[in-house]
Symmetry: C2
Subunit: 213 residues, 2 copies
């Protein structure tokens, strides 16, 4: 995923010659805590945070006299990996980052709330779906056999007595994010999942040998 | 994980009787885009965003006359699951959310940048570590055998010719987050991982049968 897939292309247009009064009203009306400043050819020239404007006494002051200059602003190129946007937001604790083309034209903003949304969505995959792909991978093992194995592993790890059916209804309600948190980490979740697959295969094999005999 | 594990307990103390002028300066100096308003017993009574103060003409106005009242504020209880903080930040597109005890005392703030940091960190687990736990789960299969199986699966999926050693050096540099993005989703990553485990086991079994013969 690239930055351009993550950016918001709707942003307010604010120019260096605008007054603090005008920009304050725009930011309030459009609920923007910060805004990029551009020239008439959409090139980024500066940045303004609402808290900077709070301490300006003369509201007729021009934005160019209070804005952060281009060389002090964190920016992203639209072709960069989206991961860089996450790293920069975390490192610099900013609310949004302007996205530029190679020639410095402003084409969008990456907002922290959109990053949170994207990251959260990745976690919102149902555990059920992960088990469905595990099931389709383990040839010859039925869904019920997989659930029974999951119940056995749960008993081994937590001591809890649970049936395959109960396990199934539990994972129908749970997401990957919840599962990681309740297992105590990603690796433990994986370990559990691998154990379940193994036990399902082992039971199948031992069942087959019995049948053959 | 609960909200209290995620919250920032350092926040500026702002009271309803403070003037807009005073609060503007505090918010600017401490770089806060929004702030909770509390009474003298630390109970939350309101909320102020920097953009609200931008349009106040008389700087001697009291905060209580411009603040958002308690009944309109998004809040969290410190005992709630951390997941709720993520959901509320995403749904209401806010920068931070005040965290309360049962009696309404303000004890912290959950900030969007901290949530991003936590979510991003969960993705930053090295793929190497996940393979190490897969390895310890698959009894009797060596690390090199696992890497060779991974190279085989890579070839099956991507057509790329890669050795076990090359695969190993690749996963040493890669994180879970990158792996999900490059596989095209969590389920595909899991499917690949399960395939690798299966092939490792199958190769071991067939090798043993050959040795026995």
């Amino acid at each position: 995923m690239k930055v351009k897939a993550l950016m918001d292309t709707k942003f307010i247009k604010v120019y260096p010659e605008d007054t603090v009064e005008v920009v304050s009203k725009i930011m309030h009306n459009r609920k923007k805590f910060s805004t990029p400043i551009i020239d008439r050819s959409d090139k980024l020239v500066g940045w303004v945070n609402s808290i900077d404007l709070l301490i300006v006494d003369d509201k007729k002051t021009l934005i160019k006299d209070v804005m952060h200059n281009l060389d002090t602003i964190i920016v992203l190129n639209k072709e960069e990996p989206a991961k860089n946007a996450v790293l920069k937001i975390v490192k610099h604790k900013v609310v949004s980052i302007p996205v530029l083309t190679d020639d410095g034209t402003l084409v969008g903003l990456v907002r922290n709330c959109d990053i949170t949304k994207t990251l959260a969505k990745m976690y919102d995959i149902p555990v059920y779906k992960i088990f469905k792909s595990l099931n389709s991978e383990l040839k010859g093992i039925s869904w019920d056999e997989l659930m029974d194995s999951a119940a056995i592993v749960t008993k081994q790890i937590t001591g809890e007595n649970i049936t395959g059916k109960e396990y199934e209804s539990r994972i129908k309600k749970s997401t990957f994010g919840q599962a990681i948190w309740s297992c105590g980490g990603l690796e433990r979740f994986f370990t559990g999942l691998i154990k379940i697959g193994e036990i399902a295969v082992a039971r199948k094999v031992s069942h087959k040998s019995i049948v053959r005999k």
